[in-house]
Symmetry: none
């Protein structure tokens, strides 16, 4: 379902079948959670949380209703698991990249946004943001969960990079959270838009090429952040 991204961050640490041989049934059992999460993500993305029926998720994963509840005790927990698998893990990886990065901050931001696009923006995982925005009022517990697991860490990640650039004299001093928001918002918005209007023959939504958009956005933002007189560092994008 997910095409191997050219990213240096391999999603799973090389499965290459361990020594022990499993029976067919055991293999099914081990694959179940992943199959269920994939089915759930697809359906949540398509119809939203409330409108997705548990039985549909099960059917799409090729199991019965009861089996779904064998692995996840409620629809809400299933959704949380989807969020964890698709977002929480990625943000952690982003933190790793940022923590060990040596080059210019502009390049770091460029790389982070490209990673985000390849791992989230152009995958069904992008829909999760839409789902949260739309339904979070009805599930307050999910709001806190999402804030803790996704929004806060992502804000820390991007604010940290901007701070890093300011400290190094690469960027102008600017309000951190607002810049972080301005950095990621257009990308999420584009992904969400494509997810919602992409299926329909809508000129406006399709007039935008995601790759061009990403590069343009980075060009604008990095030039905007840049200290006057220097040359922009984000050229690597092209």
């Amino acid at each position: 379902m997910r095409t191997l991204p050219p990213s240096t961050l391999s999603p799973h640490p090389a499965p290459t079948q361990p020594v022990v041989e499993h029976t067919a049934r055991q293999r099914r059992k081990e694959a179940r959670p992943q199959e269920l999460l994939d089915a759930a993500l697809a359906l949540f993305a398509e119809k939203g949380f409330a409108a997705t029926r548990a039985e549909e998720v099960a059917q799409r994963a090729g199991v019965s209703k009861g089996t779904l509840y064998l692995y996840y005790p409620s629809k809400e927990e299933l959704f949380k698991a989807v969020v964890r698998q698709n977002l929480s893990s990625l943000i952690a990886e982003g933190q790793e990249v940022a923590a060990h990065y040596e080059g210019p901050s502009a390049d770091l931001l460029t790389q982070l946004l490209h990673i985000w696009w390849e791992r989230v923006g152009c995958t069904p995982a992008a829909s999760i943001h839409k789902i949260m925005l739309a339904e979070v009022r009805n599930f307050p517990e999910l709001a806190q969960f999402y804030s803790d697991e996704v929004i806060e860490p992502a804000d820390r990640l991007f604010s940290g990079c901007v701070q890093r650039g300011i400290d190094a004299g690469e960027f102008r001093p600017m309000p951190l959270h607002e810049v972080a928001h301005a950095l990621i918002a257009p990308l999420i918005f584009m992904a969400v838009h494509r997810d919602s209007f992409g299926a329909c023959p809508v000129a406006g939504a399709n007039a935008i090429d995601p790759r061009v958009m990403l590069d343009t956005h980075l060009d604008l933002m990095l030039r905007g952040l840049q200290v006057r007189g220097e040359s922009p560092a984000g050229k690597a994008v092209a």
Copy 2:
């Protein structure tokens, strides 16, 4: 809640329908559709489509459940009516401003975004975007409508301004649609976010001050658009 009931205690022996009768009840009757749409907008914005109960809409509009169905044959039709009614007036205004503007393009963009924020971003109308994003997959016919009535005109408006700046030598040449998207997306995103997470005690969402965000965003974008060596024009923001 019901004004002037035909109580038996009325001092006059039943006036047998006055000539006009355009009073109380009649006025209520004419105002009903608007009252219902207002109530529906508020609730759809708050809870989404599926989680909004028809009875709640009726209650909030001060009528009974049955009356709602007198005006709208189903919850779906009510939803469509809400979207249509609230979007039709959203665009014209901006077009007017842009058509007659004389000053620098940076100032024009600054003004347009401020107008958007005051007229849409910080009003319930902002919720409509959220609703559309969330539910458009379930109402394909609304997608075309929304695209024609909102997305396309808005894109034309902002692309036009950017083109104007490029033509005048104020801005660097850049991909028009992508810049237009980068201009408006963070604002819509912020409004939608506040609408969803604002009620919850979520640090990340509340860390951003809308006014600061707006100015920061404009600062970044205009400096990013600006032709090298000139001074940015968007300082008027205060």
Copy 3:
């Protein structure tokens, strides 16, 4: 369903239709709660709490599933309403009788037990005790409710009568709660037994005539309580 008991305690204070005329629908609405409670009591008695399906109750009352939930928000609340109507009210009446009684304590106990038999013991209401005994462990909230609404008041009522007899020198001094228990337990037990085994052709259960049992029990108990040398006061039973 309930035959008018010869008791001086009229169950309802004479309905005799108030002045206002109701339409058919309104009449139905007003009768609904009673119809539902009757149906619920019958089914709870027959199958227990957990095994009684909400839809069955509705059907027996001649309405749909949804209507039941219009009047009682959950099966548990429905059960509580059944208890209140059938037991709580009766105990309150018993307290009234006891509070104003003038004659010998033995006669008071005789009368209370006869009332209990006629109003509970030989009606479906007797099954409620069985239901509670059987299922209370699974519904802790019901346990507290039943204890507060039924067990405690009943214990107070009977202990109070025994105390009254002891104070007046009619009865020997004895442990109050234990005597109260010994007074009411055989009657409840008999009723519960008949409710459970009555339908089956079981000699043992049917060998006992409730009337004889009641009189025998009273005879034994009152003679047992009686201060030595006096003549028993409970002869009125026959």
Copy 4:
């Protein structure tokens, strides 16, 4: 949980089934039915039939769900087996005692009730009565079984003792079955009550001390049975 798994780490090259093998596993296998019945009794007593899950019974017996169904083809059959196994042995004992008793009938009754309390009333077996009362309507065939195996013999036992006392001039002539009922009912009722409400902080249920109750009850009953003018015989109770 599984004893002696045929692990590949076994030092001996698979002993190819020893001669007797009546060890560990074999012993477990033979003990299985009893372990399952014990677990089932405990759970049925605690939660009732419907609320007891098959898997819980299996877990408590230390086996898997599937194994339970190897021994009992359904939950219903398991329930019947529990009832049969626990009741059949309860009655014989009392009959023995009564048959050979030489002393006064009051002492005999005293002794029988004390035996009942120690052997049934204060053991899990008391719960069986509760289960029967609650569920017998759903298992009509058990009604006859229970009646034949328990109710009838118990009635014969106690009626016989009363008859013996009357014949000997110790007791007043009274209806036999009704007296038998009045003798045993309060004790069963108390045991059942404690079993159901004992866990809850219910004053009424806990206000009664079983030992005091037993003595009080015997005191009342024997005095009630006693022929006028004689002194009661049941003092032996201590």
